[in-house]
């Protein structure tokens, strides 16, 4: 919240009324984006912290973990890249792995582009596209009406900053903390993945089927002799593509479901975010935030 405020003040001090007609920038929308993205940022701190720990444990330098976070902004994609880079894998293996893991962002990008306002021009979209993550997509997609450039722009700075800071903190902590704690923290990122997949698998049988199939394939690549030779990145691609293609053939999504599921997932993510906010409120001074909330409401 403190960060948020300083942003506000900065914007107030800068060119108050210049160019209202030509390059009009709706500051209040931008600020609203900033505010709404605070819980996303808090969530990112912990995930990227886990990434930092993981990267250093595989022999990466803290600065390398930071650079990867700053240029990628994708949790699963970054995690999958670490072993490939650490083992000196092929560039094509890395490229394909990132493609498969991150292809879901294309779908989100299409849905967001469809919603984009006229003033949200192609140039601006190209410049801000790097910030489309699951959570930022959710915040942008769930907004009533069209997606305004200023609002989407406002969603990016705080999560981006937290994502970068979290990974450098994790990486440095990974170098400082005693071995037994680092070892125990190594499980964090996998526990987070479990917390993402399991509730959804519990709710939808098709997701449970897909996840179990993917796990079975992954186990095969790990333990069966002649499959062991397949590099980790390629094995992951084969598991993911095979499991999701087979699941799509057996349990195809209904046409109307597409946007519905997109909306549902978006709604769920915001629900989780609201819970995070509640927790954050408990930690920070409760009175101040309550007052701010009343104002926004």
């Amino acid at each position: 919240m403190a960060k948020n405020k300083s942003f506000l003040n900065k914007n107030r001090n800068k060119k108050p009324t210049a160019n209202i007609t030509k390059n009009y920038f709706n500051k209040s929308l931008f600020v609203m984006g900033l505010k709404n993205s605070v819980p996303v940022g808090l969530g990112y701190l912990s995930v990227s912290f886990a990434f930092g720990i993981f990267a250093v444990s595989k022999g990466m330098k803290p600065i390398e973990a930071l650079l990867i976070s700053m240029f990628n902004l994708t949790s699963a994609g970054q995690l999958a890249a670490v072993p490939i880079i650490a083992s000196g894998g092929k560039f094509i293996e890395l490229a394909l792995t990132e493609f498969i893991i991150n292809i879901r962002y294309s779908l989100m990008s299409i849905l967001l582009a469809e919603k984009a306002d006229k003033n949200f021009t192609a140039k601006k979209r190209a410049a801000l596209s790097f910030g489309i993550t699951d959570e930022i997509f959710a915040l942008g997609y769930l907004r009533n009406g069209s997606l305004k450039y200023e609002y989407f722009f406002g969603l990016l700075p705080i999560p981006y900053f937290c994502w970068s800071i979290g990974s450098i903190l994790g990486a440095v902590a990974g170098n400082i903390l005693p071995q037994i704690i680092i070892s125990a923290l190594g499980i964090m990122i996998y526990a987070m993945f479990t917390a993402i997949v399991l509730p959804e698998a519990k709710k939808q049988k098709a997701v449970a089927f897909c996840s179990l199939l993917s796990i079975a394939l992954s186990l095969a690549f790990y333990y069966i002799k002649f499959l062991k030779a397949v590099p980790a990145g390629f094995a992951l691609i084969i598991c993911a593509v095979a499991a999701s293609v087979i699941s799509a053939l057996i349990f195809p999504k209904k046409d109307e479901e597409e946007t519905e599921t997109a909306k549902e997932t978006a709604e769920e993510i915001t629900k989780e975010l609201k819970e995070e906010v509640k927790k954050a409120e408990k930690i920070t001074k409760p009175k101040k935030i309550k007052k701010q909330k009343e104002k926004t409401n």
Binding site: E98, I103, A122, I181, Y190, A191, A243
Partner: protein, 106 residues
């Protein structure tokens, strides 16, 4: 820092950037293929599941502590606890087992 790392960094960043930039900038019509939409819907779960198992069992210094930590994560995920709660409790569980192991071995 080696040059090779920068090539890796460039490759992954470039691919990740294009995946978001091209559809966001140039496409604004929905994907109509039902099959493709379904594949894209299942993909994230397949990726995360395959990445987690069995790698999670080798994420700590002993398979036992990892297995216990993973069990904690599974139970708490079923109870729909938040990401950070699941992650911290799972780590704490793993730590407890590792501590026990180190005591027993001594």
């Amino acid at each position: 820092m080696s040059l090779k790392f920068y090539i890796y960094l460039f490759v992954m960043s470039f691919v990740t950037f294009l995946i978001r930039m091209i559809p966001f900038t140039f496409l604004n019509k929905k994907i109509k293929s039902r099959f493709l939409n379904s594949v894209l819907f299942y993909m994230p779960y397949a990726v995360l599941a395959a990445m987690t198992v069995p790698a999670v069992f080798y994420s700590t210094s002993s398979v036992y502590s990892a297995a216990f930590g993973f069990a904690v994560a599974i139970i708490l995920s079923f109870l729909k606890k938040s990401l950070i709660t699941v992650a911290l409790c799972s780590s704490a569980g793993a730590l407890a087992v590792e501590f026990l192991i180190s005591v027993i071995l001594k």
